[in-house]
Symmetry: C2
Subunit: 301 residues, 2 copies
């Protein structure tokens, strides 16, 4: 009875799309991993990408709104870097087109890393080991550049893929990989209309929709486009690993997945989901937790 | 010509001493690792043991004085947790006798984790997964206690041992494991008198010596004992992995190992070490970097 619903879904590929101008190499990924963990790339030497996108916490920070430099609290929730490589735009408002374009933002943001690019490059050049690795990876006369820094981090992020979730194994033919309740949840996910926005391998259509989640005053996509129709619009969030990425929504206002699902029904579909429907949907969403990327913590110079 | 110097040293054991009332088990170490990485054990959910004792940074933070809750900067440098299991007292001033006694200090310190023990226990009890693991490891009716929290973290710390450094391999008979310059450094380390304090497998005698490192006003051991003779006294620091644990001294005032060595000669031995002697000693100390503990980052609930 579930075959026709199942057909509407796609498994998460094990490999993310790689841009032509930033091919993956092992050495580049390793360098990117070092940079991702390196707190010296910050104003006071304590904030790394891994601070807010922490591998121990589903590559998020599990607090409502990010806390960065000087313990300042930003306006938005830290999304996971897991599978960000599949997104067609980065940030809740989609203001960066690629991971490469994204990476230099947080470094300079004064409530995040709070470091200028000049300073960041100077920090890296201070370590012979980084000089050597940038030269090996990128070649050229002066390889330690913001551009290459962004490329290396993006290359590492492209390895943060979580394939083989129970749902993916179900799609691949293992009928017992998910429970009957999860199959019912899948059915509701289609019939209620969630799949209209949360679709494709990464469970997001990449589009922006106006929504006011609890407590939000954020103008979202409007801050990027200045189009009235984009007021309070946010990119459809991936639902991959959503069991790990609490609290939910752009301002992290909701701690529980069942509550987030109820809000989605009400706000996006003008439906009051029943308790059973919510439970089934939550069970289904738990089946989207994949295998975590495996790597060792880098030993920084 | 180096045999008689070599005899004075001891290799780092691969296993730390285990107290009778806190035996190691695999499940306990795994739980301790989770707690070590868990930032929810803090006032604002962002500070874990791993924040300041960061595996990517030699289990330190590589800043002069620790930055904790609310971005407050404490008075002292974060020592490494590597091989802390071999120390006869914990903290620069030795105020905690064991790792178990140590662990609850930083949780409550308002410039570190800034959380009460009651709150920390409540946080842990909020996760069924922690409830389960504490029960499995410790048994009893109410196993999630500050005592057991400390025991689990201590058990994990007892795995943070770095055996098989080049110098240990040299001690074990591999003559070519260290260079001739490093052997000369070993000789100077004995002849100049460094070994008088930095001795035993962990290169510390566990005693306290008065020293005023640059910029220090810290009264050190005196704050614990109130004995005049302990004013400005600090526990002899381990030199294991000292190449990784910069900046140096109790206030992190010195970034370079050669400078730290020069200061030690002058302050502790009333000797102006020559440039060659310093270089040899630094080379020797670089030979004390061992194999880093291998573990995967825990996936926290
Ligand atoms: C202080 C916390 C903090 C730090 C440090 C930080 N981030 Fe973020 N990250 C965030 C927040 C908050 C957002 C969402 C911001 C927004 O949408 O305006 C975000 C968004 C992202 C996104 C977009 C994901 C998506 O779903 O749209 C990526 C990718 C990312 N960060 C990677 C990085 C990298 C790489 C670094 C280091 C160079 C980094 N972050 C440092 C908090 C942080
Ligand atoms: C019209 C588009 C649309 C529909 C329909 C829709 N969503 Fe969403 N969903 C979004 C957008 C946009 C966000 C991000 C909202 C925000 O945080 O501001 C989101 C966020 C979420 C989140 C929170 C994810 C996170 O990590 O913060 C969950 C869970 C979710 N949706 C589940 C569902 C479910 C279940 C349904 C169906 C009952 C559904 N959505 C229907 C667009 C939609
Ligand atoms: C905000 C930074 C910070 C945090 C968080 C932190 N520490 Fe520390 N740690 C320090 C500093 C600074 C010292 C030295 C303090 C002193 O001597 O007074 C220290 C000392 C220690 C020592 C003694 C080592 C030695 O050589 O004497 C151990 C062991 C230790 N910490 C373990 C932990 C554990 C376990 C946690 C978490 C429960 C933790 N630390 C959290 C900064 C931190
Ligand atoms: C009388 C005892 C004593 C002697 C002799 C001594 N040290 Fe030390 N050493 C200490 C103490 C105590 C500290 C911690 C000082 C502080 O930070 O306040 C220390 C710290 C150090 C440090 C910094 C470690 C760190 O991680 O911060 C180095 C390096 C060092 N000693 C090397 C040497 C060398 C090389 C010699 C001989 C030239 C030497 N020491 C002689 C007691 C001694
Ligand atoms: Ca979230
Ligand atoms: Ca240090
Ligand atoms: Ca849970
Ligand atoms: Mg921090």
């Amino acid at each position: 009875p579930y075959a026709k619903f199942k057909e509407l879904f796609k498994p998460l590929p094990a490999i993310a799309p790689i841009p032509a101008d930033n091919p993956q190499t092992e050495a580049k990924v390793e360098l990117g991993k070092m940079l991702y963990f390196d707190a010296r790339l910050s104003g006071d030497g304590t904030i790394a990408c891994a601070t807010c996108h922490n591998p121990a916490l589903g590559f998020t920070d599990r607090i409502p709104r990010a806390i960065g430099h000087g313990a300042a609290r930003g306006p938005r929730n830290s999304p996971t870097t897991l599978n960000a490589a599949f997104l067609t735009s980065q940030f809740w408002d989609g203001r960066a087109p690629t991971l490469e374009a994204q990476a230099l933002g947080p470094l300079q943001a004064n409530i995040e890393h709070n470091i200028t690019l000049d300073k960041a490059i100077a920090v890296l050049k201070g370590f012979p080991e980084y000089q050597k690795r940038f030269a090996e990876v990128f070649g050229g006369k002066d390889p330690v550049t913001p551009d290459n820094l962004a490329k290396a981090i993006a290359a590492f992020e492209r390895t943060l893929i979580t394939p083989n979730s129970p749902f993916d194994r179900y799609l691949a033919g293992d009928e017992s990989a998910i429970s009957t309740q999860q199959k019912k949840g899948m059915k509701s996910f289609v019939e209620k209309g969630c799949v209209g926005c949360h679709n494709g391998p990464n469970f997001t259509d990449g589009n922006f929709y106006a929504i006011k989640v609890p407590g939000s005053t954020d103008e979202g996509r409007y801050t990027v486009t200045k189009k009235e129709s984009d007021k309070h619009a946010f990119r459809t969030q991936t639902l991959r690993n959503v069991a790990l990425t609490y609290p939910y929504f752009n301002n992290g206002s909701v701690w529980k997945l069942d509550e987030a699902v109820k809000i989605m029904g009400k706000e996006m579909l003008k439906t009051d989901l029943s308790k059973d429907e919510v439970d089934d949907l939550v069970a289904f969403l738990h089946g989207l937790t994949g295998e975590m990327p495996k790597f060792t913590i880098p030993a920084l110079p």
